[in-house]
Amino acid sequence: MTLVEDRGTAPSPALRSGSAAPLLEVRNLSTHFFTDRGVVKAVDDVSFSVAPGEVVAVVGESGSGKSVTSMSIMGLVPNPPGRIVGGQILLQGRDLVGLPRKAMQDIRGDRIAMIFQDPMTSLDPVFTVEDQMVETLRRHRDLSRGEARDIALETLDKVHVPDPPRRLKAYPFELSGGLRQRVMIAIALSCQPALLIADEPTTALDVTVQAQILQLLTELQRDNGMGIVLITHDFGVVAQCADRVVVMYAGRVMETGSREAVLQRPRHPYTQALLRSRPRLGERGRLTAIPGIPPDLANPLPGCPFANRCAETVDACWAGLPALQSVAGDAEPGRRVRCIRRESPT
């Protein structure tokens, strides 16, 4: 056997060759929720990194831990019941875990910004766009109201909001879903963050608007050299703009690699099932949903978390958690998969 053991405990600085030190490095992050029904390990020993100017997609079904991962990076895990129980989150080398509340607030919205899934509910309904933009700018920059307004106008223009002066005076209910998401993006970008976390930024939008927003994100990322963590369940989105992919299931990383590797040479049965279940435009054939239901986090599986839904499962899969290992015959650095059957023909 020619496998390289990698328990996933070591940092994985496997970035594209020639890139600078990572912008964000998540090391062995574990975020647990302490509920009446027991401890739910929403994120369990997760590691990945994002280089400046890189888009890393975190993919998984709902309940896979991808959103808790993003909330952990933001320092916004609701506590109680949730808590980061282990690991590090290094932003430009500085560990965010355990940072005092005030220091974390200074970073949020300034160095790291976030946009949310549903633009219909993520803008405060009782304040105007101007109030919400100016508030953010003045929180992080020493600006007068007028100066902040000018920057707000500029940013709205940058995200292609038509007629910015009029939109600035608008309440969220007066804007369409696509416009609201643009406003959210404008708020997020107004302080020129180094890292943007986009949590399902297009899921709630119409298909045509989805494409526009994705295009906008890639355009902005290219211009500003910002790193993006893109949380999604949609491989179409991944194909369109991700550089690298982290596939999560039941709080664990199941497979990582470049976009090409994961999309074209998926190794983990879960990734393969996810790719099969994706509707493809202009393509005939059955749409296969992944059989079975996502794991009940209160009754975790003893071995591989995907064992009960996996078509290739064998009894050994239940014996213990497989390690996240490099893939035989795949020379790509940072390519990892968590499956004891990785050797079997796919």
């Binding site: 933001m74 916004l76 109680p80 509340r101 005030k102 607030q105 200074d106 970073i107 949020r108 919205g109 300034d110 910004a113 976030m114 949310f116 899934q117 549903d118 509910t121 993520s122 803008l123 405060d124 309904p125 009782v126 304040f127 508030e135 953010t136 929180r139 992080h140 309440y171 209910f173 007066e174 959210m184 708020i187």
Partner: protein, 316 residues
């Protein structure tokens, strides 16, 4: 917004009309012969006939109502049977005294209840939340008349810090300080229930808001907890709190009755109580009409404030 206000105002008219019918029919509730009951056992046949004529009891019911309503619309609520003075002259000053007590109680309820409720929601399961929740459950279950007696025993009879009754000291100067001194115990006793209700509602309303996406988004912008809670969360949680405060303000107009009786606060509740004991129907009717009118008015004001706070409704 103007349309909304006009619409709400128009909706009030039929309600007040209905209220007047209900209050009018109160006279019919008096068991036995109304006139004889009103005058008591020593009434003569002549006096019974006289009061029948005065109240128009010999006419058909609908005519009596129309006559009564027109008099009311002209500000004539009839004469008190026991006190023999126009009802309006009694009701208005007494109502003013009740307003002082109700306003003080409401002020306590809001000033304590809203912050405690909001902070309980923000720090769910903290010691403040526990104390606030237990306090609210206890407060809602407290019999007002019992609380009034306990306060009177401890702070008036035993410690002697506050007077046991009345609005002003008989030998005092009748100044504001004297009034406040008399106001403390009755207003605390009356505040218990609205305080409990407002605390509970502020908590549940804030809880609902604090979990919403836009609050997470505000936090993600790096705003301090102070701004998150007191600017964004409270502002969104406010409408139901205002509605319930309006309702509680209305309930207080009648709910001060127990404290007024115990602390002999010369308000409309005490007056209503005495009128009921004395079967003084015109006075009962006048007092109720007055209270109901203000109750409707308070809820109307609360509704309009709530509508104003909603940018969607304000724009219309």
């Amino acid at each position: 917004m103007a349309n909304y206000v006009v619409k709400r105002l128009l909706a009030v008219v039929p309600i007040l009309f209905g209220v007047s019918i209900v209050i009018f029919l109160f006279l019919q509730l008096v068991p036995g012969d109304v006139a004889a009951t009103l005058l008591g056992p020593r009434a003569t046949a002549e006096s019974i006939a006289a009061i029948r004529a005065e109240l128009g009891l010999d006419k058909p019911l609908h005519e009596q109502y129309v006559q009564w309503l027109f008099a009311i619309l002209q500000g004539d609520m009839g004469r008190s049977i026991i006190l023999q003075v126009p009802v309006v002259d009694i009701v208005v000053p007494k109502f003013f005294n009740t307003l002082i007590l109700a306003a003080a109680s409401l002020l306590i309820a809001i000033v304590v209840g809203v912050p405690v409720g909001v902070l309980s929601a923000v720090h769910q399961y903290s010691w403040l939340d526990r104390i606030g929740t237990v306090g609210a459950v206890l407060g809602a279950a407290t019999p007002t008349f019992w609380l009034a007696l306990v306060l009177m025993y401890v702070f008036a009879l035993n410690l002697g810090w506050f007077p046991t009754s009345g609005m002003y000291d008989l030998r005092g100067d009748g100044g504001l300080l004297d009034l406040l001194h008399h106001l403390v115990l009755p207003s605390i006793a009356t505040a218990a229930i609205p305080l409990a209700v407002i605390t509970r509602l502020a908590r549940s309303s804030t809880l609902e808001v604090i979990r919403s996406d836009y609050i997470t988004a505000v936090r993600a912008k790096g705003m301090s907890e102070r701004v998150v809670v007191w600017r964004h969360a409270l502002r969104n949680a406010l409408p139901p709190i205002i509605s319930i405060t309006g309702l509680q303000a209305g309930f207080l107009l009648g709910g001060t009755l127990f404290t007024e009786v115990i602390f002999t606060w010369p308000g409309i509740g005490l007056q209503l109580y005495e009128a009921i004991l004395g079967r003084d129907v015109p006075l009962v009717q006048g007092a109720m009409l007055f209270i109901a009118f203000f109750f409707v008015l308070l809820n109307l004001v609360a509704d309009i404030i709530v509508a104003y706070l909603n940018p969607k409704l304000r724009a219309r």
